[in-house]
């Protein structure tokens, strides 16, 4: 059985963060294609194949790496939309946040997030964390049926 290599959707408004994340994933030899969008609206456009992504191939990403604080639509709203929609509600979502604010933790866990990871300031730790996440969600984890 040939495994389909799915996309990793990275939702991150900070370009340096995005660059570091993508670098880390590449260094970790993760073969999945990575789509980077810069805010929540774009993320939903991608998931629902709307706007700039109306022409993209069908299929949900293997995992959504979601920042919380973003312009226009923040990560919590994106998560709510994803979990509220039949087509997207089974997608694994991992929060990649700068902070461990309790209200963010509570809100995302209540909405059914799959993991909440605070981005370490230390460069080495950051790379390790992102690589581990990529390995786990994009490579090792078996998708839920219907995703």
């Amino acid at each position: 059985m040939i495994r389909e290599i799915r996309t990793i959707l990275l939702v991150e408004d900070s370009l340096p963060d995005a660059e570091m994340t993508i670098d880390a994933l590449r260094e970790g030899h993760i073969a999945n294609s990575i789509v980077h969008v810069e805010d929540g609206v774009e993320a939903l456009d991608y998931l629902h194949r709307k706007g700039a992504y109306s022409e993209r191939q069908e299929g949900n990403p293997a995992v959504v790496l979601l920042d919380i604080k973003m312009p226009r639509m923040d990560g919590i709203e994106v998560l709510r939309e994803i979990r509220g929609n039949e087509a997207t509600r089974r997608i694994p979502v991992v929060i990649l946040s700068s902070s461990r604010e309790e209200r963010d933790l509570a809100a995302t866990w209540d909405l059914g997030v799959n993991a909440y990871v605070v981005k370490p300031v230390d460069a080495r730790q950051f790379f390790d964390a992102v690589q581990t996440l990529g390995q786990f969600w994009a490579v090792m984890n078996e998708a839920r049926p219907g995703n």
Binding site: P16, M20, S97, E101, E102, V121, D122, A123
Partner: protein
């Protein structure tokens, strides 16, 4: 009704006593007097009988003397005359005697014999007087001797004498009885009178007592009305003041009696209030807590509450009302002050809420936005360093390390600051916390990281307190961590933990024999990011004791410290015994 009945009963009793005194006295005296008169009558009667008997004997003797005298001097007419007179007098005497002794049958018998014998003698004496020759003196004397009179009269006399004695005895008895009866009656009367006097005296005393009690009660009532601080007045339907207490006069600055009543007092000018007061009197309608501002005695305006109730005076049929005035000025002012303070306070609370919200937004923003650039600095300087390493540029590598370390340190500072700001935000979750087990737990966590150190622990038995367990855990963590950290320079660290209890609070303390501090800087010890040691000497951001102070303050306690440079430090914190204010 009962009172009326009692009064009637008393009156009837009094009347009965009087009747008994008068009538019984009269009856007893009447009876005694009748008996005495009766007895004396009988004595008199006896004396009369004897007198009559003696008269008869004298008469008979005179008759005999005259008859013998006539024999010696037959011609003497005076003697004859005398005989005839006494001869004529004897039958009525005899009859009188008989009549007098009708009450005694044996005397009657004797008198009948006496009558016969005297009758026989008279026959003989008549013959002698007529000069009957056959009857000489001797013959006469012997004939007369056949009819003895003396014995029979003596017998009658003796009998009467006896009767007299008996009757005198009876009379004397009667008199004695009368005297005793009179005395007894008098005594009884005195007793009764005494009783009546005592009863009426008691009655009078009671009445006087009741009256004086009433007077006292009235006096007291008046005193109360006069002394009470509330102005009180009795008003008529024309708003005339019938009576007012001193407080009323003082409050409105008038003198009593108040002429013209409320009509002329400017304080009572409110037409609505005046109409309502009139209604109270005329329609018998109560007025409750009418609030009004009045121009009282001084120039100040007073906020008063007026109450009025219809009242009926006992001595007058005119409708009146009792009016009371309560001065609420002070309370009103206090209420206004409270309202004003509340207004100010809610303004401040709103301000604080806004500030808090802003702070929260600020810290949220800080935690997200401030750390991202740090991460980028650290991340890219790290990448730069690995690139430089390939070129073998050691100096550049060192610069990159400094940049990374600084970014890390700043990240730690931000982390501490955020956790410190979080301490004040959440509500306290109060529960029973066993300080002993809390400190044991903290101790084992902390010492596992410094197993190479020699630390002597002296932990006194600690009580159970009501507090937020997770916050208190932070307190112990900070205090014990500090103690371990600052005693690192000693060969053997000694860390003591204890508690001093007093009725108001429990004072916990942690003492170490470490680096200590200069008491000159004790004020800085609990400040945020305040450090008394060089970063190179002891690691840390200076947030620990600030957090301790914040947590203890939220529990209503205090924090302070004692120490000396090189001689260790003692950190104290207190927890109040009552429930902490959250």
């Amino acid at each position: 009704m009962k009172h009326f009945f009692e009064a009637n009963m008393r009156f009837a009793g009094l009347l009965l006593c009087l009747v008994v005194i008068v009538v019984a006295g009269y009856v007893v005296r009447q009876k005694v007097s009748d008996d005495t008169v009766d007895a004396l009558g009988w004595v008199n009667h006896t004396l009369e009988v004897r007198a009559s008997l003696h008269e008869l004997r004298a008469n008979v003797s005179q008759m005999h003397a005259a008859a013998y005298g006539a024999r010696l001097n037959p011609s003497d007419s005076a003697i004859r005359q005398k005989y005839e007179e006494s001869r004529a007098a004897y039958p009525p005497l005899m009859d009188a005697l008989r009549d007098l002794t009708r009450d005694s049958s044996d005397q009657q018998e004797r008198i009948a014999i006496l009558r016969d014998r005297i009758g026989e003698r008279v026959v003989l004496l008549d013959r002698s007087m007529r000069g009957d020759a056959s009857l000489d003196v001797g013959e006469l004397t012997s004939s007369l001797a056949r009819f003895p009179v003396k014995e029979i009269t003596d017998a009658i006399d003796a009998r009467e004498q006896h009767l007299l004695d008996v009757r005198q005895e009876i009379a004397a008895n009667r008199v004695r009885v009368a005297a005793w009866a009179t005395l007894a009656t008098a005594l009884a009367q005195i007793v009764l009178l005494g009783a009546v006097i005592w009863a009426s005296e008691r009655q009078l005393k009671r009445r006087v007592e009741a009256e004086s009690e009433t007077r006292r009660a009235v006096g007291r009532a008046r005193l109360i009305v006069e002394t009470v601080r509330e102005p009180i007045a009795v008003i008529t339907s024309d708003l005339e003041v019938l009576q007012a207490n001193q407080a009323f006069a003082d409050f409105y600055g008038v003198t009593r009696p108040i002429t013209g009543g409320l009509n002329v007092m400017p304080a009572w000018g409110d037409p609505v209030l005046r109409q309502r007061l009139k209604d109270v009197v005329t329609m018998r309608r109560e007025m409750w807590d009418y609030e009004v501002e009045q121009e009282a005695g001084g120039e100040t305006r007073r906020h008063v509450v007026v109450n009025a109730r219809p009242m009926t005076l006992p001595d007058s049929s005119d409708a009146t009302a009792l009016l009371t005035v309560s001065d609420m000025t002070v309370r009103k002012r206090a209420e206004e002050q409270v309202l004003e303070l509340n207004r100010q306070l809610s303004g401040k609370i709103a301000l604080v809420t806004v500030v808090n919200r802003e702070l929260e937004a600020f810290s949220y923003s800080v935690s997200h936005d401030l750390r991202a650039p740090l991460r980028h600095i650290a991340g890219f300087s790290d990448k730069l360093r690995s690139d430089l390493a390939q070129q073998g540029n050691d100096k550049m590598q060192h610069y990159c390390e400094v940049i990374s370390d600084s970014a890390r340190r700043m990240s730690t500072l931000i982390e501490d600051l955020l956790s410190y700001s979080r301490l004040g935000r959440h509500a306290l979750r109060l529960q029973a916390v066993d300080m002993q087990s809390l400190i044991d737990e903290t101790r084992s966590t902390l010492t596992s990281a410094v197993e190479d150190r020699r630390i002597t622990w002296r932990v006194a038995p600690l009580p159970v307190v009501i507090a937020d367990a997770s916050l208190l855990r932070l307190v112990w963590q900070n205090l014990l961590d500090n103690a371990i950290k600052y005693s690192a320079g000693k060969d053997e660290a000694v860390i003591e933990v204890g508690v001093d209890e007093n009725p108001a609070e429990r004072i916990f303390w942690v003492r170490d024999n470490g680096a200590g501090f200069d008491m000159k800087y004790v004020d800085k010890l609990f400040g945020v990011f305040q450090r008394l040691h060089k970063a190179s000497a002891f690691a840390g951001t200076g947030i620990g004791l600030a957090s301790v102070r914040r947590i203890v303050a939220r529990h209503g306690g205090r924090t302070w410290a004692e120490g000396a440079t090189g001689n260790g430090a003692t950190i104290y914190f207190s927890l109040p015994r009552h429930d902490p204010i959250s």
